[in-house]
């Protein structure tokens, strides 16, 4: 044999090489196992920590409100922390030795440090606070899941240390709850030089961690954009992923729950309707603004309420004879029926479906929007049974769009004066222009644009105050002549730019009324500003005032572009502006007339407009006179 021919020393070398190789294999395995253990520990820790965070969130000591309002959330957190409901938040080790103890104000501090918009407690902030560099951790851990204690051991660097940590939040109102999320990796590196033992520990650890990893995998699979291997991520990264996916799961679960509840409700409703046979329940459902249609076996129309009949131009008795393929309708009905037909699955069932349908409504020059919800019926109903709900959401959609337009418009309106201020300020500061006229112009523009900016901000603030109802009237005697004179003086410059003739036509005797002068000045300013804005060059604006029996009427009349009578009501709505290019080409936010009307109404008066397209506009502000004054005016 070839080996037999080798000298003895060669045989010894071969044995040495073999032993060295074996040692290398063992060493590599040890290192790999330790690395793997560290990675698994990270993942497990992340997940366990998140569970705790969510538990805290559910208990609401440190939870967000979930609606993204950070300030509100932080205030709640701080108030809660200061309320005494939470006495401490502590981190204990396995011997119940306190490692970290947070006082209520420190919990508040964590809350204040929270920057994440995540709906749950900011785990980053908490993690950083508990285990950040200042508090030099620990770290090797052991998980004990709620299902049982995990005793797997693996080395993650701190050989010989046996520390099991968990977090405990203690509340004063009902004793302590101490969910122990003990992470399953503790140290046991010492003496693990035998391959078998090492592998046994490794397998044991993997087995123990399998449950956690499976959950992590499930979470990860719900988050499309995650491509990295979760186990290779750092704790903070993993936290983010787990947090996001966890929240997605919660959202999905809520959605499912809602669907299930809705399905149960519609099942019950359908059954009740069928049993009532056109009785009181059916009569009641005719009165609701939502359209309802029940399809049962063979997609037959079992029930339609009055709203559907009105929208689809159906006669109720006829409709209830039809099957879905036979049904015909116009407009929204046609679109709805198309969706319902398309939704029918080959196996004769319906899936849950929810969507918004938009239809051009020529009569109202606006699009009509309807929300369609389709719910399959399940318990005890024939396959293919479903309930359809149809709701007119045009107002809601219109309001959302108006708000979006408002934001865009306000952005533009804010940026224009800012552009002027910035550009003219740089012109002054540059030292490149020494012409005194240029310098005077710069100062004038900056002053004028600052005033414009200030007015805009005040308008926006007024709307905010009106919205929350916090606007207060400071009533005093207001000299109407002085009020209107000042109003005209304030806009004289704007009128002069367009050569608009602005006149005051006031009676010789004009008494004072009781009102909030500053607020009324806003009304006058808004009406005059609009009159000048929507009146072409060389036009006329006349401001008048009459005292009637019970009220005083201020009028602002122009010979401008006018307002289509169909838009009269809408111009006083918040954020609404006319669709005419003559209007949209002018700067504006759609809050001036709304603010004016609300202020006048808070004075007990009202505002109206008389106008025709291309025939100018007259805005009339009617303010009530005090009863004593009114009676004296009547007598005289």
């Amino acid at each position: 044999m070839f080996v037999d021919d080798l000298p003895a020393r060669h045989g010894l070398s071969l044995v040495a090489i073999f032993l060295l190789g074996l040692l290398a294999v063992v060493f590599t395995a040890v290192v790999e196992t330790r690395r793997e253990a560290a990675r698994q520990a990270d993942v497990a820790f992340s997940y366990a920590f998140r569970l705790l965070a969510n538990r805290l969130a559910e208990e609401n000591p440190l939870a967000s409100t979930g609606d993204g309002r950070k300030e509100q959330r932080l205030r709640e957190l701080t108030e809660f922390a200061a309320s005494g409901a939470v006495t401490s938040l502590r981190v204990l080790d396995s011997t119940r030795r306190v490692l970290v103890s947070l006082k209520p104000d420190e919990i508040g501090q964590i809350a204040a440090e929270t920057t994440s918009e995540d709906r749950s407690l900011s785990t980053d902030a908490l993690l950083e606070f508990l285990f950040g560099p200042r508090r030099q951790p620990v770290f090797v851990m052991r998980i004990a899941s709620s299902g049982g204690s995990v005793e797997a051991r693996a080395d993650a660097g701190e050989i010989g240390v046996d520390g099991a940590y968990f977090l405990e939040a203690q509340r004063s109102n009902g004793g302590a709850w101490n969910d122990s999320f003990r992470l399953p990796v503790t140290t046991s590196g010492v003496g693990l030089v035998i391959m078998g033992a090492l592998l046994a520990v490794y397998h044991n650890m993997r087995r123990q961690l399998r449950g956690t990893l499976r959950v992590a995998d499930q979470l990860r699979s719900r988050k499309d954009r995650i491509t990295e291997d979760l186990s290779t991520l750092r704790i903070t990264d993993a936290l983010d992923i787990v947090a996001t996916t966890w929240n997605q799961l919660i959202d999905a679960a809520r959605g499912w729950l809602s669907t299930v509840q809705q399905t149960s409700a519609t099942d019950e409703l359908a059954r009740a309707l069928q049993q009532s046979g056109g009785g009181t329940l059916a009569e009641a459902l005719h009165a609701i603004p939502e359209g309802m249609m029940l399809l049962t076996q063979e997609v037959r129309i079992e029930y339609v309420n009055a709203t559907i009949c009105r929208l689809f131009c159906w006669k109720m008795e006829e409709a209830r004879q039809w099957t879905l393929p036979e049904a015909r309708a116009q407009g929204i009905g046609e679109a709805v029926l198309k969706i319902v037909r398309e939704s029918l699955q080959p196996d004769g069932t319906y899936p849950s479906r929810s969507e918004t349908i938009e239809l051009a409504d020529e009569k109202n020059r606006e699009k009509s929007c309807y929300r369609l919800n389709l719910f399959p019926l399940q318990r005890g109903h024939a396959p293919g049974s479903c309930f359809l709900f149809l709701r007119d959401v045009s107002q809601q959609v219109r309001a959302d769009r108006a708000r979006e337009d408002f934001v865009a418009q306000v952005t533009h309106e804010l940026r224009t004066p800012l552009t002027n201020i910035r550009a003219y300020a740089e012109t002054l500061a540059s030292g490149m222009f020494d012409d005194p006229k240029v310098i005077t112009d710069c100062y004038n523009v900056i002053t004028k644009e600052t005033r414009r900016l200030s007015r805009l901000v005040e308008d926006i603030l007024s709307v905010s105050q009106l919205e929350v109802g916090s606007i207060e009237l400071h009533m005093d005697q207001v000299d109407l002549r002085s009020l209107l004179n000042d109003g005209v003086r304030d806009v004289r410059g704007l009128a002069d730019e367009k050569n608009i003739d602005i006149q005051l036509a006031l009676p010789a005797k004009l008494e004072s009324i009781r009102a909030d002068r500053d607020k009324l000045a806003v009304v006058v300013n808004n009406l005059l500003g609009n009159a000048i804005k929507y009146t072409p060059k060389e036009g006329n604006v006349v401001v008048g005032c009459q005292v009637a029996a019970q009220s005083v009427v201020i009028t602002v009349k122009d010979n401008g572009i006018g307002i289509d009578p169909a838009d009269h009501a809408r111009v006083f709505e918040k954020f609404q502006r006319g669709n005419d290019p003559e209007v949209t080409n002018e700067p504006g936010t759609g809050i001036g007339l709304y603010t004016a009307r609300e202020i006048v109404r808070r004075h007990g008066g009202d505002i109206e407009v008389i106008s025709e397209k291309r025939a100018g506009s007259t805005f009339m502000v009617r303010l009530p006179l005090p009863e004593s004054r009114a009676s004296s005016v009547t007598r005289s």
């Binding site: 952005t411 224009t416 552009t419 910035r422 550009a423 740089e426 644009e449 002018e586």
Partner: protein, 125 residues
Amino acid sequence: MARILVAEDEPHIAHVTSLWLRQHGHQVSHAENGRVAMTLLQDGSFEVIISDMNMPEVNGMQLLRAVREQFKLQIPFILLSARCDQDHLAEQIVPFRARLFAKPFMPSRLMAEVEQLLESSASMR
């Protein structure tokens, strides 16, 4: 010196922009909206166009399109915009080879942009 067309309906912005351009030795023509700008383009030639986005009658985007497609001009075009959807607008103007300048802007930076564009177009010639 270059002939520059400024299309801007906001008189103060038009004034300060023209002031700086003239200070830098350029000849400026002002149009108060896109339609007037198109009339001026028919009558004269310009080396740079600075236009506001939101203008009555013909807006900045329509003017840009007309400059490239109707007038077949490849001169530098700077679009000034105070809109909040700047990213969307920036995407829209890509095919028309224009520069977007967000309001509020510093006139000195606008001047630097104009000089750079003039240098680039001179070197291309």
